[in-house]
């Protein structure tokens, strides 16, 4: 019985992989396609025919794949950004940005929602970690002299992304609406109030009032989950695009 079952299995696989529907889904170079083999042509197709992978060129300089050169810091920053997006969307299902509900929603999330505490922890630690990896990525790029022509402008984009990362983290800091959040943000925004000439106006716009309250919470929530990520994604796209336009990764030293 065994050989017969096996042949029926392969027959089924053959017919599925040969079908029009299957081949319309998996483009040439996909490992799921019939007759995939490890050839230079298929290696190229894997990159060219994938919406995600084609951020990369088909080939890169040999030194660029050494972990000791980049320490994966830029890639990890982007990966943490994705991870934060995914966990953040999960948290959004259980959170209302009002001073009456915010804290108790977080509390309920931690105590009554399956994996709620875990996902919140991951979101928090990934956020701190992302500030760190972005910062270290900047240091790595500087020490390799990778900001030199033709990559000057991409460095500028990178500095903007660093400030956006800080903004993302800082706007998220208020949302749990506990004593830590309230007073950390109070200290932070008081500093911005000292901006010359229009300092108090800046502070008023940021807080949505004279003191931190429900209006601030809503404002920072929208900034945190929509506005700043939106701007960040645009700058990320330019950043990645420029890496390739400027001739790929820098080096070797």
């Amino acid at each position: 019985m065994q050989p017969k079952g096996k042949s029926r299995m392969t027959e089924l696989t053959e017919s599925v992989q040969g079908s029009q529907a299957w081949n319309s889904i998996f483009r040439p170079g996909s490992v799921f396609r019939k007759g995939y083999s490890d050839s230079p042509r298929n290696r190229s197709y894997v990159i060219m025919n994938s919406v995600l992978y084609h951020l990369h060129p088909v080939k890169v300089k040999r030194h660029a794949v050494k972990v000791s050169y980049t320490l994966c810091l830029g890639g990890l920053s982007f990966f943490l950004f994705i991870l934060l997006t995914v966990t953040g969307i999960f948290l959004m299902f259980f959170y209302r940005p009002t001073s009456a509900n915010a804290w108790s929603d977080i509390y309920t999330l931690q105590t009554s929602v399956t994996f709620g505490l875990l996902v919140r922890n991951m979101h928090r630690w990934a956020a701190h970690l992302m500030v760190l990896t972005v910062f270290l990525h900047m240091a790595r790029v500087f020490y390799h002299g990778a900001y030199k022509p033709p990559r000057e402008f991409n460095w500028v984009i990178g500095v903007i992304l660093l400030t956006l990362t800080l903004l993302l983290s800082f706007t998220g800091y208020l949302l749990p609406w506990d004593q830590l959040a309230l007073w950390a943000v109070t200290v932070g925004t008081n500093m911005m109030g000292y901006t010359p000439v229009f300092g108090q106006q800046v502070r008023f716009v940021l807080l949505g009032g004279k003191v931190i309250g429900t209006d601030t919470l809503l404002r920072w929530y929208v900034l945190h989950v929509l506005f700043v990520p939106f701007v960040t994604v645009i700058f990320l796209a330019i950043h990645f695009w420029r890496v390739r336009k400027d001739g790929g990764i820098s080096g070797p030293l």
Binding site: S44, V46, H56, K59, V60, K61, R62, V65, V67, C72, G75, L76, F79, L80, L83, I106, Y107, Q110, N121, M122, H123, R124, W125, A126, H128, L129, M138, A139, F142, Y143, G145, A146, Y147, K148, P149, E152, W155, V156, V159, T163, L166, S169, Y173, W177, D178, Q179, L180, L182, W183, A184, V187, G188, N190, M191, M192, Y194, T195, P196, G199, L253
Partner: protein, 270 residues
């Protein structure tokens, strides 16, 4: 086979016609071979000096060879095709001269058609770069790195909980009140400078200098040994912030007064 441009073809045709006329003029000569070599000579004479791109030393060598041949022309007949002949008028690109009527002593026909400088027709790429396929070499590393990061975060999150203090209360200020850790360097500066300097001027200047860095650093090298100044300066910059953040995070207690963590306890929440 590549197509020959129209103007080059016309030029070659003209040259051929001219050569044939010269040949007809020299019809009295008994040997056709000598005639053809004469034609080549006259053609060369017309162009050699001004508009030719042929290097001077090659011209010189060819002229010397011709003179040598002229000396022994009577003795050995039919040597004309055997020496380097300079291309007919318009020399830069290959043009067809008069077809050699005779072969050299060894039975070879050798003619120097033209000398083309490298890069004048085909752009030669700089040194080839050693490259590898992104799949699997880079994607495998990226996959591994993201997996390690995910596993680390997952395990860390299982064992360490994010802080959730009591409900926010605007009427009760905790002592000390600290900003998020990445702003603690600025809060540390606040103990030394006016808030405008610590909270706006210093960070503003920091970001401004970072943005300007690639435009101020004119040193083209990326080798660490050539960039000692830039590297020292940047390391100082990083250390400045690192020290401020660490002091602000771990060495500040109640009233944001100096408080070593080993004696006064830790006042720090992430």
């Amino acid at each position: 086979m590549t197509e020959i441009p129209e103007h080059l073809r016309k030029r070659a045709e003209a040259a051929r016609k001219k050569a044939e006329e010269a040949k007809a003029g020299a019809g009295a000569d008994d040997a056709a071979a000598a005639g053809s070599s004469d034609a080549g000579d006259t053609g060369a004479g017309a162009t050699s000096a001004g508009d030719s791109k042929i290097p001077a030393h090659l011209l010189e060598r060819s002229r010397a060879a011709k003179a040598r041949k002229a000396g022994g022309a009577e003795a050995s007949e039919g040597e004309g095709g055997g020496v380097a002949t300079i291309a007919p008028p318009g020399g830069a690109v290959a043009t067809a001269g008069p077809p050699p009527a005779a072969t050299g002593p060894g039975g070879h026909t050798q003619r120097l058609l033209t000398v083309v400088k490298s890069g004048s027709i085909q752009d030669v790429k700089a040194t080839p770069v050693d490259k590898v396929h992104v799949w699997p070499h880079l994607l495998a590393i990226e996959l591994l790195a993201s997996l390690v990061m995910t596993v680390f975060l997952l395990i860390f999150s299982i064992f360490v909980n994010a802080p959730l203090l009591e409900l926010a209360n605007p009427n009760s200020t905790p002592n000390p009140s600290k900003a998020p850790w990445y702003f603690l360097g600025l809060q540390e500066l606040l103990t030394m400078f006016h808030p405008m300097v610590a909270g706006v001027t210093v960070p503003g200047m920091g970001i401004f200098l970072l943005i300007l860095a690639p435009y101020m650093d004119k040193n083209p090298s990326n080798k660490p040994e050539d960039r000692k100044f830039a590297i020292s300066l940047f390391t100082l910059f990083l250390m400045f912030w690192a020290v401020l953040v660490i002091v602000g995070s771990f060495f500040r207690g109640e009233g944001f007064n100096f408080n070593p963590p080993w004696s006064g306890g830790l006042f720090f929440d992430l």
